[in-house]
Amino acid sequence: MIARGRFLDCECLLGPTDHPFHASIRGGRIVDLTPAPVLMRSWRFSYRATAAAWAEYWQPAPRPGWHDLLALTKREQAVLEGDLHPFMVHLQYFKDVLALPRPHASAVPQ
């Protein structure tokens, strides 16, 4: 994942709709994560979703329509704002990073 993001340096706003985090990414590594708001801190894009959406997205096998970042924007459970260029250039990276809390289905007791 870090290799996929090796050319990515970016300030972005990620997380729950009402309580997002400022994320600083350098060479694909998240080097700082600070709860917003931070006085006068800039960001290039934000991806924010409802708490319910994150809970669904992080299920081992998410339900249909709750399983992808852009499925969530389509169903209006998430908003994507700002300069989308770094997000689109590194789309798979952001999908993978934001799915990290999702346990692998095989690791979950049946």
Binding site: P64, G65, A71, L84, V89, L91, Q92
Partner: protein, 293 residues
């Protein structure tokens, strides 16, 4: 197994489409009822490799998958001067009919996925009598857009990476990793602007709302199958489309997304086998009735 050779054979057929000669690559296997398979936007006929290698289906069907011009091993035509590629309803329809005619296929079954599913609906509207049955996977008369296609072809974004990353979300989470990767690989290999050009048909030119009502399934049976994880062509989109077509068959496929035949071939087989068997039975009844007429 080392040394195993798969049964499908690939060849090129020269097909005239819109007055231009195209060199179309296709793979086929089996013998029997012709079954022509159409790939999704921005991909190619490799998506059908598991169906082509299916020993049971190939006993009864001549399974054929071709690469659309600009896709896979079907190059752009020789007179292409580099202008933007844009697929239209008329051109896509003509391509499928011209390919079937060039191979002298008699009343083939056509099965298409995504844009292939959409064009199947148009074949059902305008040319139903030419086909034995039509199967639309991830098919609807229209679906709401969920991203701006201008991201797919611009110099400051890697086309292959962004195309694959966008469609990766359309694959069901349960699909095997190896099949997911293979499905995405074709998107990473597509020519510049080809996926975007296909979506011109899907998003702009190929809106079939208000036209599918004219489909007569007595002339040609129509089967629609959609994966539950497809949030591009949703199960609701397919059901809405089918509700306007008397006797259209609808199946919602569990644990599958937008690429059923390639993202999880085993799971897809569970759903497509009964459809193909039903088509064979109907075909056999029609033949017998013809003999007694």
């Amino acid at each position: 197994m080392n040394g195993h050779i798969e049964p499908m054979v690939g060849r090129y057929v020269h097909v005239e489409i819109d007055r231009d000669m195209h060199r179309i690559y296709f793979e086929e296997s089996g013998a029997g009822v012709p079954l022509v398979c159409l790939h999704t936007a921005g991909s190619d006929g490799r998506q059908w490799r598991h169906l082509l290698a299916d020993e049971e289906f190939s006993k009864k069907f001549r399974i054929i998958a071709f690469d659309m011009p600009w896709h896979g091993k079907s190059n752009p035509p020789a007179n292409w001067s580099g202008e933007e590629y844009q697929l239209t309803t008329a051109r896509y329809t003509e391509t499928v009919r011209a390919f079937c005619k060039a191979l002298k296929l008699e009343k083939p079954v056509v099965m298409g996925c995504s844009i292939g599913g959409r064009i199947v609906l148009n074949l059902a509207i305008d040319h139903a009598a030419e086909f034995r049955a039509l199967i639309g996977l991830e098919a609807a008369d229209f679906q709401a857009p969920w991203y701006d296609t201008s991201w797919l072809n611009r110099p400051d974004v890697h086309g292959g990476e962004v195309c694959a990353a966008l469609v990766s979300g359309l694959i069901a989470p349960q699909s095997p990793e190896v099949s997911r990767n293979e499905t995405l690989w074709a998107y990473k290999q597509g020519g510049p602007g080809v996926f975007k050009g296909d979506l011109y048909f899907y998003r702009v030119d190929g809106d079939l709302r208000g036209r599918v009502e004219t489909i007569d399934t007595r002339v040609c049976p129509l089967y629609l199958l959609t994966g539950e994880y497809d949030f591009s062509c949703t199960p609701e989109d397919t059901k809405r489309t089918a509700a306007a077509i008397p006797d259209a068959s609808v199946t919602i496929m569990e644990q599958l997304g937008h690429f059923p035949m390639s993202e999880n071939p085993e799971q897809f087989r569970r759903y497509i086998a009964p459809v193909l068997n039903e088509i064979l039975e109907q075909s056999s009844i029609s033949t017998k009735q013809g003999e007694h007429a």
